[in-house]
């Protein structure tokens, strides 16, 4: 079943998803769609939708670690797909399963080591991947603006209808790239999305934004859009053996700054990390020591003493 049947353009439907490039109009602010608008499509028909998912390989520090200079020593770091991005990948793959002709492309800024993480995303159903890296990028301390410029260049190349990113990265936790990118490329956006429903013609999404204190904001967002995805939106799948096998033959395209029409200025950052240290522990906890049964005995006494358990 195709979802682009109502299109009135003369271009015949194609089954492959290719960039629609220059033919696409500049994104414009649209008024609230009327009901009839919701059931028609003017989105062209080369592809129902292309989704770009930004994916980051993040470092997690071991329980015991040492700081070397302004970072944790490499030997204490383990790398994995950013947890928030895992939910973003799942959201994209689910949309590709729900609709015909949806292509999911992941974009990563990262060294060759990140390919392992990218393969995981490919194994989960991402169609192909882009990895941005070169010596200038490697040497840079990328801030939000620099990441925005790199991803904006990828967006220009790929021309997606929807960009999904994680709310934040688990390691440096800026939580800003998705919205900054949206503003830069002129897409609409919603941050901290924990519920997502799309209109059948893929013209817009009804999202929930997870506010503080158990309140959710219900918002309608026009496409093209950037949504930053909160954990809990869905249940990220595990890669199947078949998926892992298929991922081996999927394309990971490498882009350097020059390939994206950028130069080293694009990754220059005025923000520098000049120190890293372990926070002073303020713990004045009374530790209950001994073997597990001794610890449990002391804990039971504390609970009885506080009057929250009888006996």
């Amino acid at each position: 079943m195709r979802r682009t049947t109502a299109s009135s353009t003369a271009v015949p439907p194609r089954t492959t998803c290719r960039s629609r490039g220059v033919n696409r109009p500049e994104p414009t602010r649209r008024p609230l769609p009327t009901v009839s608008k919701l059931f028609t499509s003017d989105r062209g028909n080369a592809c129902a939708m292309k989704i770009l998912v930004t994916v980051k390989e993040v470092a997690e520090a071991a329980d015991d670690f040492e700081i070397e200079g302004t970072d944790i020593g490499e030997q204490y770091l383990e790398y994995d797909l950013n947890e928030w991005d895992d939910y973003a990948v799942e959201a994209a793959v689910q949309l590709s399963e729900e609709y015909d002709d949806v292509e999911v492309v992941s974009a990563t800024i990262g060294s060759e080591r990140a390919e392992e993480t990218i393969r995981m995303a490919l194994a989960k159903g991402v169609d192909r991947a882009i990895r941005v890296w070169d010596d200038d990028v490697a040497a840079a301390d990328l801030d939000v603006a620099a990441k925005t410029r790199l991803f904006a260049a990828v967006v220009e190349e790929e021309d997606p209808d929807l960009v999904l990113s994680g709310v934040q990265a688990a390691d440096d936790g800026f939580g800003a790239t998705g919205v900054s990118l949206a503003d830069e490329i002129g897409f609409d956006w919603a941050a901290v999305v924990n519920d997502l429903e799309t209109e059948d013609d893929l013209s817009m999404a009804h999202v929930h934004r997870e506010l503080e204190g158990g309140i959710e904001e219900l918002t309608d967002v026009d496409f093209p859009a950037v949504l930053t995805i909160q954990t809990g939106l869905n249940e990220p799948r595990y890669a199947s053996l078949r998926g892992i096998r298929q991922a081996q033959s999927k394309e990971i395209a490498e882009f350097g700054l020059a390939d994206l029409g950028l130069d080293a200025d694009a990754v220059a950052s005025p923000i520098a990390r000049t120190a890293m240290y372990e926070p002073e522990t303020e713990s004045d906890a009374t530790y209950l020591d001994g073997a597990a049964d001794e610890q449990a005995g002391q804990l039971a006494d504390v609970l009885r003493d506080k009057g929250v358990v009888s006996e």
């Binding site: 520090a61 800003a176 954990t231 209950l288």
Partner: protein, 317 residues
């Protein structure tokens, strides 16, 4: 150019607590710079909010009357317009969920560097911010070599500034047509309603990622049964669908203040601590002696929950 512009946060008719904290952060930074603190109040009952925020140390309040609730196009546009008008050295915005939705757009639009989620700020020949990394395991200093700069500040890091004063209020004209905005708020929904209100419980047994598997929750259920406690959890347990949302303690879940909060396999991320630090007695069981939960615990057990919890159940059987 040595002023600071801070932006207040409000929701559904009430000024949010972080607004009083951002005023203190802004005042301290303005003092370092030798400049004024301007406070922006955008959307809703701006005059009422301006009155609430007439605080000692604010030099001027700028109200933007447009719309009822938060809209990121309005906030980003009005903040950027005020910034251009006032030409401050720094603009401070809250690192709230709404801050996440507009602050990066402000920085991008103004083409200024963004430091997100600052927990401390200083100015010495340039802005220096303290930030956490690696899930609060370390703190970092970042220095910004360009001005002006945009900063988002974490809630709960600066003491609320409550002292009142007469502050001049000026209306700032900003044209905004909400119907033309590509992201339109349709309403709000309270989540987490259910059979149990964990906020009422005197004794909470709260479980986190350390439980590892859904079936291991049986162990905690047994403990809850023999002690008469109420079960709550940290975020990952709810994200995994193992417990309903009404059991979640933390920034996006419930705020709880029980007599005793027993945290089992919870590391104590800042978002979780925000929801339970008001408990009278906090007890933590965790294998990692460096877990931040021990910083706020009154009693600590460094050990494996799969050894300690069965022994504790035995104590009450």
């Amino acid at each position: 150019m040595s002023d600071v512009l801070a932006v207040a946060d409000h929701r559904r008719g009430a000024v949010r607590g972080v607004s009083f904290e951002i005023v203190r952060a802004g005042r301290e930074l303005a003092d370092d710079l030798g400049g004024d603190l301007h406070l922006a109040v955008i959307a809703g009952d701006v005059d009422g909010f301006a009155d609430r925020l007439s605080l000692a140390g604010v030099d001027a309040i700028h109200t933007v009357e447009a719309g009822e609730e938060f809209n990121h196009d309005l906030y980003a546009g009005a903040t950027a317009a005020l910034f251009e008008e006032l030409a401050p050295t720094a603009v401070l915005m809250p690192n709230s969920v709404n801050g996440l939705d507009y602050a990066p757009a402000v920085a991008n639009r103004l083409d200024v560097p963004l430091v997100a989620d600052a927990v401390d700020l200083a100015y010495d020949d340039g802005l220096e911010a303290t930030r956490e990394m690696y899930g609060s395991k370390v703190e970092t200093t970042v220095e910004v070599s360009e001005e002006p700069v945009a900063v988002t500040v974490r809630s709960g890091e600066w003491a609320a500034l409550e002292e009142r004063a007469d502050v001049p209020v000026e209306a700032f004209e900003y044209e905004f047509d909400e119907s033309a905005s590509g992201a339109r708020v349709q309403g709000f929904e309270e989540v987490g309603a259910g059979d149990v209100d964990i906020a009422d419980a005197e004794f909470l047994v709260s479980v986190g990622r350390g439980i590892e598997e859904e079936e291991n929750l049986e162990l905690i259920e047994e403990l809850v049964e023999v002690t008469g406690a109420t079960m709550s959890s940290s975020r990952p347990i709810v994200d995994n669908g193992w417990l309903p949302k009404n059991r979640q303690v933390g920034q996006s879940g419930k705020q709880v203040t029980p007599d005793v909060y027993l945290a089992i396999g919870i590391s104590g991320a800042v978002q979780h601590v925000a929801g339970m630090k008001g408990a009278e007695t906090i007890i933590a069981i965790n294998t990692d002696p460096n877990a931040p939960i021990f910083d706020i615990a009154d009693y600590g057990i460094v050990g494996d929950l799969f050894d300690v919890v069965p022994a504790l159940i035995e104590e009450f059987n």
